[in-house]
């Protein structure tokens, strides 16, 4: 089932022209896209290509100027649907510090369900369930500002999970984290996906893209390609056009393959690639 459908969606921001008149700046233009329930989708493209605008259209923080956004069968242009749509799409942004609203972790996670008017005993249940899912239960009584970046982002994810959404949107949620923090957040995202959550990951780290089911590439407000990570990274011309690069290991693997080495052109494990190359070099000597 398609959980998210965008049909010819355009969105423009208000902007001022040089002469001071009100004009518009493009956010996204003519985007048609659908996302399968339970999939793990990466959304990539350079800064300013419309990724975040698209993300905000998904949970009706922004409404399309033209076209329709349908989430779980609900049209975001209808006012009575907004509440339901926002309940179904949990969002986590880039800066962990900007997303903390309370001074104790469990209160922060409870913020969403409280606003939905969930009854008190159920709030506690949801909060602890969400904290368990991100592996942060032991920190329930801590103060968020004393946590590491990765831990803060996991709390932010828990805050989104407490609303029990069907879709989790991570808008560059790993950009400000150190390698350990990034790994923590991605592990949680993949675990949730295995339990049935649809995950949309917006990122600049191409290594993170490798583990996704499909990749949506945006450029200049438009979706310019969609495919599996291997299909996208094989398309050198596309990558050059949109200013992206395949992960280093994949790039080396495909270049070695092109030079006649008998290695997997999509190899993502540098050690395995090294081992395969050595094997071939040894055979040469014999």
């Amino acid at each position: 089932m398609k959980i998210i459908k965008l049909d010819n969606v355009s969105f423009y921001y208000k902007a001022y022209n040089e002469d001071g008149t009100v004009g518009r700046a493009m956010g996204v233009e003519d985007v048609t896209l659908s996302i399968e329930e339970g999939s793990f989708v990466a959304l990539v493209g350079h800064n300013g290509c419309g990724k975040s605008t698209l993300a905000k259209l998904l949970n009706a923080l922004l409404l399309p100027v033209t076209g329709t956004v349908t989430v779980c069968g609900l049209d975001s242009s209808k006012k009575e649907n907004l509440f339901e749509i926002r309940k179904n799409i949990g969002m986590v942004f880039q800066n962990p510090d900007n997303q903390m609203v309370a001074s104790i972790v469990e209160e922060d996670v409870a913020f969403g369900p409280e606003n939905l008017g969930v009854a008190q005993p159920e709030i506690a249940e949801r909060v602890y369930e969400a904290l368990d899912q991100v592996g942060m239960r032991d920190f329930a009584k801590n103060s968020p500002h004393k946590l590491s970046g990765g831990q803060k982002q996991r709390i932010a994810i828990a805050g989104a999970l407490a609303i029990r959404p069907k879709v989790l949107v991570l808008d560059e949620s790993t950009a400000m984290l150190d390698p350990l923090g990034r790994r923590e957040v991605l592990e949680v995202a993949h675990k949730l996906n295995k339990q049935g959550m649809t995950v949309i990951l917006i990122t600049h780290f191409m290594e993170e893209v490798l583990d996704c089911d499909s990749v949506v590439v945006m450029n200049g407000g438009r979706v310019v390609a969609q495919g599996t990570p291997n299909e996208i990274f094989d398309n050198k011309q596309l990558l050059d056009e949109v200013g992206l690069k395949a992960p280093r290991t994949v790039e080396l693997a495909s270049k070695l393959c092109a030079a006649g080495f008998d290695v997997d052109a999509h190899c993502r494990d540098a050690r395995k690639l090294g081992g395969d190359v050595c094997q071939e070099l040894r055979e040469k000597v014999k």
Binding site: G45, H46, N47, G48, Q94, S148, G149, E172, A175, M176, L177, D178, P179, L180, G181, H204, M206, G243, L244, K245, P247, R248, T249, E251, L252, K255, L256, A259, F261, A270, R271, L273, G274, G275, V277, C278, E280, L281, R282, K284, V285
Partner: protein, 305 residues
């Protein structure tokens, strides 16, 4: 008697070696000292960085990296130990901070958040103005800096910095620091949040300054791949101490140590390490994908003969 014995224990203040850009001796720092929240952030840092080096500083969050780099232009004053930056004694009572900060350019994380002026030109000139440079000269210096970061002066000078793209904003912020023509450039995660193209633009600019103008670069980074490809030397901070200080190739041979510190082994290092374990040697200077590829192909040629 007591006086003489105590005097004999005093360690004489060491003088920085010649050609040292940064010289730290037993540098210690504690946040909130003498309070229950005291946190020992730096412990006995001993370090010499020569002029013209490109040093990467890596380590887990909270390892002391930022505390250390904030010492370099005296945003944090020396608590104990010695620190010389460009021959200036920062442990002295009154170091010449103005001169120091002119020579040590500091680019913080997400520097574009610090843009504030109405126009790009005014923003880049802000620092110069504060250092008392007159208007005409400011203009030429700002022009040089903006062109250095690859922006067209006439096109961009009157724009609002807030109308620019993420990569452009970051370059304007960099220009604001570079306009002062610093001899040491300290960058705290200069590529965080940028897309791949923006990353390589910023890195090649920093590399250019280092190679062509001999600017000493101190770069804090979480991206081991960019550290591996750009730095001449990597310093790993752990719990406020220097755990490793080595060339990138030497450091990333220590795979299990790197992983135990929750850092990543760069992809090309992992590949070369595997080759080395199998007796195939790739020269240490080969670090980018294309260099490693060329060396691997050469190895195959050598075996074909």
């Amino acid at each position: 008697m007591s006086r003489t014995s105590r005097k004999s224990k005093v360690i004489p203040k060491a003088q920085p070696p010649q050609n040292a850009a940064i010289f730290a001796q037993d540098l210690n720092f504690t946040y909130n000292p003498k309070s229950p929240f005291a946190k020992h952030a730096l412990a006995d840092i001993n370090l010499t960085v020569g002029k013209g080096e490109f040093v990467a500083i890596v380590g887990h969050t909270g390892s002391g990296k930022t505390t250390f780099v904030q010492h370099l232009n005296a945003l944090i004053r020396v608590q104990s130990g010695n620190l010389f930056v460009l021959e200036q004694d920062l442990a002295a009572k009154k170091p010449d901070l103005k001169k120091l900060r002119q020579n040590v350019g500091m680019v913080f994380q997400y520097p574009e958040y610090q843009l504030f002026a109405d126009t790009v030109l005014a923003d880049v000139c802000f620092g110069l103005k504060n250092f008392g440079i007159d208007k005409e000269q400011r203009q030429t210096m700002a022009k040089d800096a903006l062109e250095l970061v690859g922006l067209e002066f006439d096109k961009i000078k009157d724009k609002s910095p807030f109308d620019l793209s993420g990569g452009e904003k970051r370059r304007v912020a960099l220009a604001g620091v570079l306009a002062m023509k610093p001899q040491i450039l300290v960058l705290d995660e200069p590529t965080a949040g940028l897309d791949p193209r923006g990353k390589s633009e910023v890195l090649s600019l920093v590399k250019k300054l280092n190679v062509e103008q001999g600017v000493t670069v101190i770069m804090v980074s979480h991206d081991m791949n960019e550290v591996y490809e750009n730095a001449n030397r990597v310093i790993v901070f752990r719990d406020g101490m220097i755990a490793y200080d080595a060339s990138p190739r030497e450091l990333f041979r220590l795979e299990s140590e790197i992983e135990s510190m929750n850092l990543e082994v760069p992809a090309m290092a992992a590949f070369c390490n595997e080759l080395e374990r199998n007796g195939v040697r790739i020269p240490d200077k080969c670090k980018t994908v294309d260099e490693v590829l060329a060396a691997t192909l050469w190895q195959r040629e050598a075996r074909n003969v």
